[in-house]
């Protein structure tokens, strides 16, 4: 089996894990959740194997490069990071309901990468501008950041749901983490993501400077990553203002994640160019 084959199986493994967490939460049965953890593990293992194989395959084709050079490869990397971040959180907080709200993301990312007709999973040689170690650092940092923001988005949804039920009437929400815990965890994810988004923008700027002689050119992709950065910087400061904990932070996190998605998918619909630009590259 080649890497694309393995990675399309991984899609369903992640989907299955998300399903198990969901079942475990809704039917209040711990067993599916426990199984879910192992399934995520298996998925992550397959995901990483797929990435490694793809790397080797590119060398066999004679133009070896790190598998981080197009939309397909970056989505695959994104899914792996998300699964890994989720596993760390599960280990630390021991709450598997969070899995029901975060594991759908790696599943969707992989499904989109594998199934969308717009995205080619062919391994292609690198164009001259993409031959740079800064580019690898750029993609890695950005996608670790995006993964943290995706988790933060899942936590924000949980927060908003939990917060609606202030009196604790809903039986479904019994085992939800407390809003305080969700808020704190969300803050940690945003800090983590903000660090990596900053690093991603910075390495991207250094790369642009080595390829085109300018570190910043206000092209739509650059600008949207900056918009995302502004939103999360707002979030970090809003927490310092009275009355801005909780719901508003959750909304800001959702807005930030919307900006992340737009930076990644929406920008291709705008005029202008970024080397990743065209879909299906």
């Amino acid at each position: 089996m080649n890497s694309s084959g393995i990675l399309s199986v991984v899609t369903f493994v992640y989907g299955f894990a998300a399903f198990l967490y969901l079942v475990s939460w809704i039917f209040k049965k711990p067993e599916p959740g426990r199984l879910g953890t192992w399934v995520v593990f298996a998925g992550l293992l397959g995901n990483v194997t797929g990435i490694a194989m793809r790397w080797m395959e590119s060398y066999k084709l004679g133009y070896g490069h790190a598998p981080l050079s197009n939309l397909y490869e970056s989505l695959v990397f994104f899914a792996a990071t998300l699964a890994a971040v989720y596993l760390v959180i599960e280990k630390k907080y021991g709450n598997r309901i969070i899995g029901a709200f975060t594991m759908p993301f790696p599943f969707l990312a992989m499904a989109y990468a594998s199934l969308s007709p717009n995205i080619s999973d062919r391994i292609q040689p690198l164009l001259p501008a993409l031959k740079s170690n800064w580019l690898i650092a750029h993609v890695v940092a950005c996608f670790i950041g995006y993964a943290a923001f995706a988790v933060s988005f899942g936590l924000s949804i949980m927060y908003l749901i939990k917060d609606k039920d202030a009196e604790g009437k809903s039986r479904l929400l019994e085992r939800f983490p407390k809003t305080g815990v969700l808020d704190e965890l969300n803050h940690q994810m945003v800090m983590f993501g903000f660090l990596f988004l900053s690093a991603g923008i910075i390495t991207g700027a250094v790369w642009a400077n080595s390829a085109w002689g300018r570190y910043w050119g206000w092209d739509p992709k650059e600008t949207w990553s900056l918009i995302t950065w502004f939103i999360y910087a707002t979030l970090l400061h809003a927490r310092l203002m009275r009355g801005w904990h909780g719901r508003r932070i959750a909304y800001l996190s959702a807005a930030g994640f919307a900006a992340v998605l737009f930076t990644y998918f929406g920008v291709n619909l705008l005029p202008g160019l970024h080397s990743y630009g065209a879909m299906g590259q």
């Binding site: 292609q124 164009l127 660090l195 390829a211 600008t223 502004f230 939103i231």
Partner: protein
């Protein structure tokens, strides 16, 4: 921290409310420039938006919005906000950082986290607790009390500066950008192989500015993957000072040549007519082949009285009856009698002219592809300020997000028969971190103590 002692204007500029407002406004307005293409020509805008919208957008500087006065004003506001806010808060934080550590037990009295460990002897417990404390925090201090003693340790005072490092980094980025926009330039130049230039054309004004040195392109080459996609563009450049070569280096995409603050980037290329062309003329009557050297614009006469031939043009991407045939020379063949005919000589198909079935077949015998390299030439004296800002931002974020000023104290006392050690900790943030620290101290102490007991 005391907001009463400052004027309302100072408080306005120091407020986090302003920060949130400015950051959100920057985020929202930045969207426009990604939806409206920037720096296009007027006709394109008129065509897309119509007259009224065009007027509105022009008034608002929407066609170059990131350099508009109002966007720059927002950035300035952000800079002032950061500076004023730091001026207000940093002195207090700095005092904490530099003042000699003083142990103040009351600070720990309502610490959120504490653990208790049983001990059996004040004196035997001391080295154990000291060891546990210094292993997880740092140097340990001791203070005697009437019923026992305190042990106290702290670390990470300096991490309180992290957030100011982040804020300073933003100032660096803005300042570096400003320096670049005043004293930098961004230009382009095409240099044919073998030739040199002393000036470049600035991209946005079209003006030509002189360089302090001369740049010569010795050679340009392009290589391709099997699929035909380009794999590498490479220019060999030589820098000359007063006509004397001082440096020769290859430049490829992503690996520019930097010299005296000027950066030369590989950005495009193209081909030029060869100056040394050898043509062959084959007479149909005799079958003889004659070779003649010729340059563009020159005329040669063909033996056997077959007339004369002039190279009139060089054409990239020549279209022959609707087909792309690439680089081609175009010549004029003037026979002794009759009217001149145009002859196309594609570089890639040397014997193309056979098709014409004339009295003489003209073919390219020897040619060399001659390229020019297209370089982007930039200078940005602010880039090191910006890069310093980058480093500060990453370092500052790591310190701010993942480190904290942690203090742990252990109160040890012997009341009546049973002794106990209470471990308490406080931190300026990252409460989970300090909780783990206390647990670590407690279990280390318990482990050593139980071993000693045996």
């Amino acid at each position: 921290m005391n907001s009463r002692k400052h004027s309302p204007i100072f408080n306005f500029f120091a407020s986090v409310r302003l920060t949130v407002t400015v950051l959100l406004t920057l985020a929202a307005t930045s969207v426009f420039g990604t939806v409206i293409p920037q720096n296009q020509n007027m006709d394109a805008y008129l065509h897309t938006y119509g007259r009224n919208l065009y007027r509105l957008f022009s008034v608002l500087d929407m066609f170059d919005m990131y350099h508009s006065w109002w966007f720059q004003l927002l950035l300035t506001l952000l800079a002032i906000n950061i500076i004023v806010c730091s001026l207000e808060r940093m002195p207090a934080a700095w005092k904490i950082v530099v003042k000699p550590p003083v142990f103040n037990p009351s600070r720990f009295s309502n610490a959120a986290f504490q653990r208790q460990v049983a001990i059996f002897s004040l004196d035997a417990a001391r080295p154990v607790l000291e060891k546990a404390l210094s292993r997880s925090i740092g140097r340990t201090r001791f203070e005697q009390t009437s019923q026992g003693y305190w042990l106290w340790s702290e670390k990470g005072r300096w991490t309180r500066m992290g957030v100011y490092i982040v804020h300073l980094s933003v100032v660096f980025l803005l300042a570096g950008g400003l320096i670049g926009s005043f004293w930098g330039f961004d230009g382009a130049v095409n240099i044919p192989e073998g030739e040199s230039v002393k000036s470049v054309r600035v991209s946005n004004s079209g003006k030509s500015i002189p360089l302090d040195f001369e740049v010569r392109c010795d050679k340009f080459s392009v290589s391709f993957y099997d699929s035909g996609a380009p794999s590498e563009y490479r220019s060999t450049l030589t820098i000359l000072e007063k006509g004397v070569p001082v440096l020769t280096r290859d430049v490829i995409v992503n690996d520019p040549l930097r010299y005296k603050g000027v950066n030369l980037f590989q950005s495009s290329y193209g081909s030029l007519p060869s100056q040394n062309l050898v043509l062959s003329f084959t007479s149909r009557a005799t079958g003889m082949e004659y070779r003649e050297k010729i340059a563009p614009g020159q005329t040669v006469s063909i033996p056997e009285g077959l007339g004369s031939f002039t190279i009139t043009a060089f054409n990239k991407d020549y279209q022959y009856k609707g087909h792309e045939i690439g680089d081609a020379f175009v010549g004029m063949l003037t026979p002794p009698a009759g009217s001149p005919v145009e002859v196309v000589l594609p570089v890639k198909f040397p014997s193309f002219d056979k098709m014409r079935k004339g009295d003489v077949v003209v073919a390219i015998d020897e040619t060399e592809t001659r390229y020019y390299t297209g370089l982007q030439v930039t200078s940005d004296p602010g880039v090191w300020v910006v890069y310093s800002g980058f480093l500060l931002m990453i370092a500052g974020c790591i310190v701010t997000f993942f480190m904290s000023h942690q203090q742990v104290c252990i109160e040890v006392r012997m009341d009546e028969k049973i002794g106990g050690a209470v471990i308490r900790g406080i931190a300026n943030k990252n409460k989970i971190g300090i909780q783990n620290k206390i647990d670590a101290v407690a279990s280390a102490a318990a482990a050593i103590e139980s071993k000693n007991k045996k």
